[in-house]
């Protein structure tokens, strides 16, 4: 019954649009969109939710913000997804915590007629509307370039030992970052990767790993941490050992701790994605897709390099603090 109503609403919406009437006249207050993230415990995903809520407010739709507490919990996300499918929302926005585990549920949702917008991390399926994400390989490449720049600025030439930390095994976005990083670093023949550690996405573990790594390689010149919890741990290790001005650290994302380290010079550059836009555009796309709009299979949400020098600039402030994110008005109503 609900499905019929939805289709009717969709048809009505299309007619309205064709009639050249204002799209805002449509009442979406009964329309629900589920936003499912990889972990509810990180600021990154909270920013996705912020963006999603902002879009929901503009569009007048309801959203449910869902997710397992830990990125390790692929099974948890699968069951959230299954529950969502049975509740038949107008659309689902999801970040896949595990490419394989979420492939089947995403395909099932599409089969059930629910448009799925995959954000941030893809799954091993093509049964979705669009994949809206950071080009993680580009992010990894930028990290490698920043490391080369930082090492060169400190020692005069880009040579020395480099280590990198992966937060978790089996996550596509992290694999892509690492791949981009490793490939790009080959352009700097003086920089050699001597170590790679895989953690369990917990800051205390990455702290211990980083400490041991710095012990093993006293002559390390640079580290790359591929997400915020790794960045927190690696930064804490550098500040504990007083190596902030010696080892160049480039990390992904923007936790409070990372921003503090950026300000104090422990972290030299943050590779920043745009989770706000992922949440915002994700909800927007889901609603549009539910009304028949066709999207390209991949949409790049952008990736920026924030350093101590540019962190106060208007473009970067919003990326570091979602509360200061300002979208230029483009709806007329806002």
């Amino acid at each position: 019954m609900r499905k019929i109503l939805l289709i009717a609403a969709a048809a009505f919406g299309c007619t309205m649009a064709q009639a050249g009437l204002e799209a805002r006249a449509q009442d979406f207050s009964k329309t629900k969109i589920d936003v499912i993230v990889k972990a509810t415990t990180s600021q990154y995903w909270a920013t996705v939710f912020d963006g999603a809520r902002a879009a929901a407010k503009v569009l007048g739709v309801q959203i449910a913000t869902l997710g397992a507490p830990s990125e390790l919990d692929a099974a948890g996300e699968v069951s959230i997804m299954e529950n969502a499918i049975s509740a038949k929302p107008a659309g689902i926005v999801i970040a896949a915590t595990n490419a394989q585990a979420l492939a089947e549920p995403i395909a099932a949702a599409t089969k059930a007629g629910i448009p799925v917008i995959v954000i941030d991390s893809n799954a091993n399926t093509d049964q979705y509307v669009t994949f809206l994400a950071t080009n993680n390989e580009t992010g990894g490449q930028k990290a490698a370039d920043e490391i080369a720049r930082c090492v060169k600025a400190r020692t005069g030439n880009a040579t020395g030992k480099v280590a990198y930390l992966t937060a978790l095994a089996g996550a596509q976005s992290l694999n892509d970052r690492d791949k981009g990083f490793v490939e790009e670093l080959k352009k700097y023949p003086g920089l050699t990767i001597v170590e790679h550690r895989v953690g369990n996405n917990m800051a205390d573990r990455s702290l211990a790993d980083s400490e041991d790594l710095l012990t093993r390689h006293p002559d390390l010149v640079a580290m790359f941490a591929d997400n915020e919890l790794e960045g927190d741990g690696a930064g804490t290790a550098l500040s504990e050992k007083g190596l902030g001005s010696k080892v160049c650290l480039v990390a992904f994302d923007t936790s409070d701790t990372e921003i503090k380290f950026l300000r104090t010079g422990i972290i030299d550059a943050l590779i920043v994605q745009n989770p706000y836009i992922m949440g915002y555009a994700g909800v927007w796309y889901a609603l549009a897709a539910a009304h028949g709009v066709v999207f390209p299979k991949f949409v790049d949400s952008g990736v920026s390099v924030v350093t101590k020098d540019n962190m106060e600039s208007p473009q970067m402030v919003g990326l570091l603090d979602p509360n200061k994110y300002v979208l230029s008005p483009f709806l007329g109503a806002q």
Binding site: A39, T40, T41, S42, Q43, A46, P69, S70, A169, E195, R197, V198, G199, M202, A203, D204, L207, A208, D209, E211, D212, L213, T215, R216, P218, D232, G233, T236, E240, K241, S255, D256, T257, K260
Partner: protein, 335 residues
């Protein structure tokens, strides 16, 4: 057979018995300690960075928080119970402590005392539910494992809480005479716990209840009091390790110490505690924790794949428990 040969044979047998008896009498800790020392020596030989002041300090700091958690989980194990909630209690304490400071603007001391009090109350509930309501401790604390973690996530909104005073992290990094303060704190706590278990009536009661609860009850031991105290201590120690985790990372994380209850129990078991109760020491717990920390450190220093590290830890637990069983069977055979 000549007289001489007979004497020699008897002597030999006596010697054999003595060695056999020694082997049977030596507590399991001895073997685990020997294994730990062996791993240390091997690592010192293989890795030029292992036996350095910086690395030893790292190990001492890393083992401290894990060991305190393991000490706590030992008390219920001695009672033939188990506390699966210690990791979640540590996570919840970290969240409550950091929120009291960052959100409620309380001082360190108030936050500290309030969080410890919360920990003790949680422990008392666990002990009371186990003994008075007769619910198996596995179930009571399994509920705690879920419930307290959920509460930590709920309170924090699933977010990490930053804004800790700088002094807190400085404390976790400080040293007294080149020994990390964290390690000294762990040593003091461990010594108190050891003293309690080995030299006080309460400690002896714990072993007595763990060996035979019914007998202990019949000789007039107030089983409910002892049980409640054991679970309260487990939660208290978990709370302390949760606070130290906050100090170390300078932030409260609702997912902190996830899964560490199993590592704590593993450390206690590897250190000679029996899940059937009546056996286990603080020293053994410490050695077990040290062995696990060393394996993690060694894997990093040697660049061993982190997944192999988990396999090695698993094999270690299996091996130690097998060895322990073997020894017990031999003992039983001797009569």
């Amino acid at each position: 057979m000549s007289q001489g040969a007979l004497t020699r044979s008897v002597e030999k047998e006596a010697q054999g018995t003595f060695l056999a008896e020694l082997r049977h009498r030596l507590p399991l800790e001895t073997y685990v300690l020997a294994l730990t020392v062996l791993v240390w020596v091997l690592l010192a030989i293989i890795s030029p960075y292992f036996w350095t002041a910086g690395n030893i300090t790292n190990i001492l700091r890393q083992v401290s928080i894990d060991a305190i958690l393991a000490f706590g989980s030992l008390f219920p194990i001695i009672l033939a119970g188990i506390d699966l909630s210690v990791g979640s209690v540590a996570g919840l304490s970290g969240v409550v402590f950091s929120m009291l400071i960052a959100n409620a603007g309380q001082g360190l001391l108030v936050a500290f005392v309030a969080t410890l009090a919360m920990g003790i109350v949680i422990g008392i509930i666990n002990g009371w539910a186990t003994d008075r309501l007769g619910i198996p401790p596995f179930i009571v604390t399994l509920a705690g494992l879920q419930g307290y973690r959920g509460l930590a996530l709920l309170l924090s909104g699933g977010m990490t809480i930053s804004g800790m005073p700088a002094g807190l992290q400085a404390f976790s990094l400080s040293s007294v005479a080149h020994v990390p303060t964290l390690f000294l704190l762990m040593a003091v706590i461990g010594f108190c716990a050891h003293f309690m278990l080995a030299y006080t009536r309460l400690g002896r009661y714990m072993y007595a209840i763990g060996s035979n609860a019914e007998a202990a009850r019949r000789v007039g031991i107030r089983v409910i009091h002892v049980t409640t105290i054991a679970y309260a201590l487990a939660a208290l120690f978990a709370t302390i390790s949760g606070l130290l985790l906050v100090a170390r990372l300078s932030m409260g994380t609702p997912t902190a110490a996830t899964g560490s209850e199993l590592q704590a129990i593993a450390a206690a078991v590897v250190g000679g505690a029996s899940l059937f109760g009546g056996r286990g020491t603080i020293l053994g717990c410490f050695i077990g924790s040290l062995l696990f920390t060393t394996i993690g450190n060694g894997a990093n220093l040697l660049g061993i794949n982190s997944f192999w590290q988990m396999v090695i830890e698993g094999l270690l637990i299996a091996f130690v428990v097998y060895f322990d069983n073997l020894q017990k069977r031999r003992q039983a055979g001797m009569g």
